[in-house]
Assembly symmetry: C2
Homo-oligomer: 404 residues x 2
């Protein structure tokens, strides 16, 4: 099998961890697999380099910052090659120039465009483990670029797609994808399988094991992803297109506490009102989430929506600045709210899933402030203080306690 | 003017020093010069990286070691670009791939073969300062290589040659090239000019401001070198082909304490004896210096020569191992000896220079053990304990105390 593996910065943070990863690679190599391994910079090295840059120049050029940061992964792959050599496994490290990983021009947040696979294929044919720097690329000016948040995951998935790999394993510090955050929901279970779409909904809801970009790319190119722990041999979670027929209705419960609600009250009941309101917010890069429109008094209407709590002040200031064009009577804001969601591909063909969630919340006395649904997701806005109670109740409803 | 400047690791060791260098570059930039600046890795970074490698693998692959080490200069050039930006000077950093600097294949000790100058010329035309990583290149496999000791000086001289630069300035922690080591000879004076050949003799004798490879390359391509301090604005020493007519006979006095003498006594007086002896030593990479052959007793002959004191044990072991083929009566070795040399292009056309040196040594009671001469150099082997006295005496003979 041709397997692409990706290890994050924590997994290669020091000598001992480097050898832990090297031993894992050596095991698979000795089974006869062809291995391409993507590594991040060691531990906090990227943060350290950013701090060095800011110390010199508080607002460093993004081009030069990428030139600086790309050294981090190069150190990781070179040291890993040396560690594999100690274990008797032939390996070769390659940076973005050597692969080459072609990206768009944007420094600091480039997109991968094309990957040359000749060099990697040659090295694999020579029975070498190929170690590739994650997070980085080269643009048309022959300059280094970086891929932004979750960049190394994206590198791994893109390599798996370009090489038509049999599998792309993403190693993290957890055993896989869980039905809910185990720190909040005591009965949370590790999922064996999940679809790309479910994973995308969960990632955007703050489950945060994989970055959306890498999941989107895996879905687009049909790359079979496996999320598993670098600390143990457990099987992890497979992320793929279709899952078993006997699949659960709901694959996960997620919460997002970074939320606030804004109600714009007493808007004129005319076409274009909603457009004006959200146009102004979009121009300030404020992402709006659940939107609810209702009839108000005296022929007016009200629009409520949620934003990230971090964006609340700017959202309010933006709306007030455009009061004359938007035309409303007053604003009502609410902090201390949170979103709780259930996600599951099974919902599409099953009525009553939302109702089952609402029932679970009613049973424990949680009041629902707003509701939003997609084909594979139901989200409710509730009081932040009730998140834990709500998540456990909803989770237990869909995942009846298993025999242990 | 198009000027190539090279700053070593100490000159960019921390934020303050980086800005010192940046201010120097900014001054020359504002005078309208075109600037290409070669930087080494910060401070002891190369040593730190080597230690990291050895900690993982006591005998790391040279290919992977180069992959690791080349990150050092990349950090330096990126940070310098950020510092210049703070000073309002547009700059761009380039690594060996981006330039590109083509070298031979040998990892750890590659030779520069060819430098592409298109990218650098384009950036200079856009009025940018071009910051280039020293010490590194790319070989035909598209792998990083490093240039070995003195590598960044070589990078600078090679760039000056390829770009037909008007000058190549090598910044160090001393004011330039001195007539003798100021720590030993109190009347040592800074030279304003020196020829390539004199510089080569001085460098090989341990004056050590510039590595021989860079001086040889400067001579070959007629690059005008300037050695000057990064700490002050003093003019430094110009290294070039011909110097002023009124030039001094002798440009410098140098000493090398890393010497030992071996006498091979009682060799057969036949052809091929010297060949056999030095052939065995050469096969063990032992460099032999002053060689003296004399008639011994009973129709035999003796050959004396000096080696580096570090190589003494291996040289003796090598000779003893081949005793049967070399055929000699006994070995006599002497440690605690040193070479003192005078160097000067003026010697060639001036008889009596060597005699003047011997006179100076006689005046202070220094016994000469061996003598070796080239067209521009006279070297004597003396007792190590007398080096200081000898150097001062010889120096004062050729550089009568100046009015201060």
């Amino acid at each position: 099998m041709l397997i692409v593996k990706k290890f994050g910065g924590t997994s290669v943070g020091d000598k001992e961890r480097i050898f832990n990863v090297a031993r894992r690679i050596a095991e698979d190599y000795k089974k006869g697999h062809e291995l391409v391994v993507v590594l991040s910079a060691m531990g906090k090295q990227t943060d350290i380099l950013i701090q060095m840059a800011k110390d010199i120049n508080p607002n460093p050029s993004k081009r030069e910052l990428d030139m600086l940061l790309t050294t981090g992964e190069q150190v990781s792959v070179a040291l890993m090659a040396m560690a594999l050599d100690v274990l008797g496994v032939p390996a070769i490290s390659l940076n973005a120039f050597q692969v080459a990983m072609h990206t768009t021009s944007v420094y600091g947040n480039a997109r991968l465009k094309r990957i040359d696979t000749d060099r990697i294929r040659n090295e694999l044919q020579n029975r070498r483990v190929v170690l590739v720097t994650g997070f980085q690329g080269v643009n048309k000016f022959e300059d280094y670029t970086t891929l932004g948040r979750g960049g190394s995951d994206t590198t791994a998935v893109a390599l798996a797609a370009a090489l038509h790999a049999d599998m792309c394993e993403i190693y993290t510090d957890v055993d896989g994808v869980y039905s809910a955050d185990p720190r909040i929901v005591k009965n949370a279970i590790k999922l064996n399988e999940i679809t790309y779409d479910e994973m995308l909904e969960l990632a955007s809801l703050g489950a945060g094991v994989l970055h959306n970009r890498s999941v989107e790319m895996a879905k687009k190119y049909g790359v079979q992803l496996v999320v598993r722990s670098s600390m143990n041999e457990n099987e992890g979670t497979i992320v793929k297109e279709a899952v078993n027929m006997e699949k659960m209705l709901v694959s996960g419960v997620a919460a997002d506490k970074n939320a606030a609600r804004i109600a714009v009250i007493g808007l004129e009941d005319q076409p274009g009102v909603a457009f004006k309101l959200f146009h102004h917010l979009a121009r300030h890069n404020i992402n709006v989430d659940i939107i609810l429109q209702s009839i108000g008094r005296d022929g007016t209407k009200d629009i409520s929506f949620t934003v990230k709590e971090d964006d609340l002040d700017e959202a309010v200031a933006t709306i007030e600045r455009h009061r004359e064009s938007i035309k409303y009577q007053k604003l009502d804001i609410e902090k201390g709210v949170a979103k709780v969601s259930i996600v599951g591909a099974g919902m599409m063909s099953n009525a009553g899933v939302a109702a089952k969630m609402f029932e679970a919340l009613y049973d424990v006395g949680v009041n629902i402030k707003m509701i939003s649904t997609s084909e594979i997701r139901v989200t409710v806005l509730i009081d932040e203080s009730q998140v834990e109670k709500a998540m456990n109740a909803v989770h237990d409803k869909f995942f009846p306690t298993q025999m242990n």
